[in-house]
């Protein structure tokens, strides 16, 4: 009898250790992030906030820090089980001259997930912002992923007065953690780390870092609910529900914006659509095609 008990204890021990290690590492990471958050303020550029990376995310309010599958610029620790791609377009507020586009690739490997995103926002022929982003996510424990992403930013401006830099390039990196559980995920993303000041003409602007927190609840199969919070900004939140086998519908809220979206599974691809309905500015539309 005693032998049997000892055997069971021996079997449980690695699991217990693993769990303790997992909790310990998560607590340490959160402690570090909590302290870092006091050193971090708002980002430099207004426009990069709305750079498109997926047409599904905006439909559910734009929360993505704790998501575990969608292509995103927001959390480099997102991991993927399957290869996926997504390409799409966005038109902002019905302004024909203000459009964006993106291409995202999600590549799983044996131990890592690799994510590449190209995202651009173009205003007429006078101004264009582009992001080239490469992320590597790695599982640290069974429930915890860490991710590192390198971002290269490019701003092209027409030469409208003396002193303008027609092309500005700079880069930074992000670090993120994603804790995944059966019923909820928790993510923390430190963005725009190592940024330096950027000058487009005369005034140098500091490209400050930012920290975002997100939580994703999975109460029942086929439904997810999430919230994202970044210091100094209103909370984004939303819900996505699998209405039928082939159709996912989403609603959400972000600052002054009510969001709607759907994702329809077609043979060999998905069609994703989101509409952002702003109180005063009207509608912004995202549309994309993705692999899964």
């Amino acid at each position: 009898m005693k032998d049997k008990k000892q055997k069971i204890k021996a079997k449980q021990c690695p699991k217990k250790l693993e769990m303790r290690y997992s909790v310990f590492s998560a607590v340490c990471a959160l402690f570090l992030i909590f302290n870092l958050s006091f050193l971090i303020s708002a980002k430099a550029f207004a426009a990069f906030e709305m750079h498109p990376a997926s047409a599904r995310l905006p439909g559910r309010g734009g929360w993505s820090i704790a998501d575990d599958s969608l292509s995103s610029l927001d959390n480099s620790a997102l991991s993927f089980d399957q290869f996926n791609w997504e390409a799409g377009r966005v038109n902002f507020y019905g302004i024909s001259e203000l459009n964006g586009g993106f291409l995202s690739l999600q590549i799983p490997s044996e131990n890592n997930s690799i994510n590449f995103i190209y995202s651009t926002l173009k205003f007429s022929s006078v101004y264009r912002e582009s992001i080239y982003s490469f992320a590597l996510a790695r599982p640290m424990t069974k429930n915890l992923n860490a991710g590192l992403r390198l971002n290269a930013y490019q701003i092209d401006i027409t030469d409208f007065e003396d002193g303008i830099e027609p092309r500005t390039l700079y880069s930074d990196y992000d670090f993120a953690l994603l804790f995944k559980d059966k019923y909820f995920n928790f993510g923390v993303s430190l963005q725009s780390l190592s940024s330096k000041s950027v000058r487009l003409k005369r005034v140098e602007e500091s490209a400050d870092a930012a920290i975002s927190y997100g939580v994703m609840f999975k109460p029942v199969k086929g439904a997810v609910f999430g919230l994202d919070y970044e210091s100094g900004r209103p909370i984004n939140g939303g819900l996505e529900v699998e209405v039928a086998d082939a159709l996912k519908c989403a609603i959400g809220l972000r600052q002054n914006i009510f969001t709607l979206g759907f994702s329809l599974r077609l043979p060999r691809c998905r069609l994703n659509f989101s509409a952002l309905l702003h109180n005063d500015l009207g509608e912004t539309y995202f549309i994309s095609v993705s692999g899964i």
Binding site: A44, F123, Y127, D280, G282
Partner: protein, 317 residues
């Protein structure tokens, strides 16, 4: 001169040769081709307010001229149908369309601003003062003309007034190449058509008001970039809004995320233009960061009808 009992004119056009502020419903002739096609007329526009009749011609020419003929009392007795002996802009025009006897004409050569004339007899035309402008560099190129109603109808605005117009390109000798509207049976310089516009459909002796559904933001003019950095170059953004009726106007600026960063208000007591300047600062007076911002222009008329339009602008400091 006709008076507007309601106190407000209808659609005032800025005479600059850029036809982008004309409403689609004011295009009375839609000719083949488009305004970007050289030596073709794309369309004719007519609108008015209490004081003026406005005419627009959407076209481009290189080495040719354009003539517009106006019959200010279509179906009436005044005007001439044979201008083959006229002393000014004689391009051999003869008019055979029922009731169309032009009593005014406009002529421009090779894109100049041109002049407006009263046809006093079959042999004499005299210049009269009327703002005219031609611009082939704009998005909607062509000519705009404004003529006072009391110049066109010196003895008053008769109930049921209808006007008729016809425009054609010309070479050194005669009307040629293209016309709007196009002739039905004959060839230029003979003319067997015109377009009739009913300016007083309710026979009340006043130019018809535009309906409330014609309440529009006619145009918004503002640069696409500005640089609020106190270096004296493009430090502020001038936003000029043209509205077709009297209105309360709100102009707001938002970050691309949808966060309001600036706001101004104004009032137009009659149709026309309003200019507001934004210094690129937020509500607390701080300069905004580089990036794209959305300018939201919202106008509400006396009957509560509201229209809005968005424009983007980039701040580069």
């Amino acid at each position: 001169m006709p008076q507007d009992a309601a106190g407000g004119p209808y659609h005032r056009i800025n005479i600059d040769g850029n036809l982008d502020e004309w409403a689609a419903g004011e295009k009375i002739v839609n000719d083949s081709g488009d305004g970007e096609v050289m030596n073709k007329i794309d369309g004719l526009y007519v609108t008015w307010d209490a004081d003026n009749l406005y005419m627009g011609i959407n076209y481009k020419v290189d080495g040719y001229g354009i003539l517009l003929y106006l019959d200010s009392d279509y179906g009436g007795l005044s005007g001439q149908s044979d201008l083959t002996q006229i002393d000014t802009w004689n391009k051999g025009a003869k008019f055979s369309a029922d009731g169309f006897k032009p009593d005014f004409m406009y002529g421009s050569w090779d894109g100049d601003d041109g002049n407006f004339y009263e046809i006093r007899s079959s042999v004499t035309a005299s210049w009269i003062s009327a703002p005219c402008a031609t611009d082939f560099s704009s998005d909607v190129p062509g000519t705009e003309i404004a003529v006072r109603w009391d110049t066109l109808l010196p003895s008053g605005f008769p109930p049921g007034t209808r006007i008729a117009v016809f425009a054609a390109l010309c070479d050194g000798l005669s009307l040629a190449i293209d016309a709007a509207p196009n002739n039905i049976l004959v060839s230029l310089p003979d003319v067997d058509t015109c377009t009739i516009v009913d300016c007083d459909s309710d026979n009340d002796g006043r130019p018809d008001r535009l309906s409330s559904s014609d309440f529009t933001i006619s145009s918004i003019r503002m640069p696409k970039l500005f640089s609020p950095n106190s270096d004296g170059l493009n430090d502020s953004l001038a936003i000029t809004v043209a509205i077709s009726q009297s209105a309360d106007v709100q102009i707001k600026a938002y970050s691309i995320e949808g966060k309001k960063v600036w706001q101004a208000t104004g009032r137009l007591s009659e149709a026309g233009e309003l200019t507001v300047t934004w210094a690129g600062r937020d509500f607390s007076g701080d300069f905004l960061k580089n990036g794209i911002y959305i300018v939201n222009i919202r106008a509400a008329n006396a009957s509560g009808e509201e229209v809005y339009e968005n424009k983007a602008v980039a701040i580069i400091k």
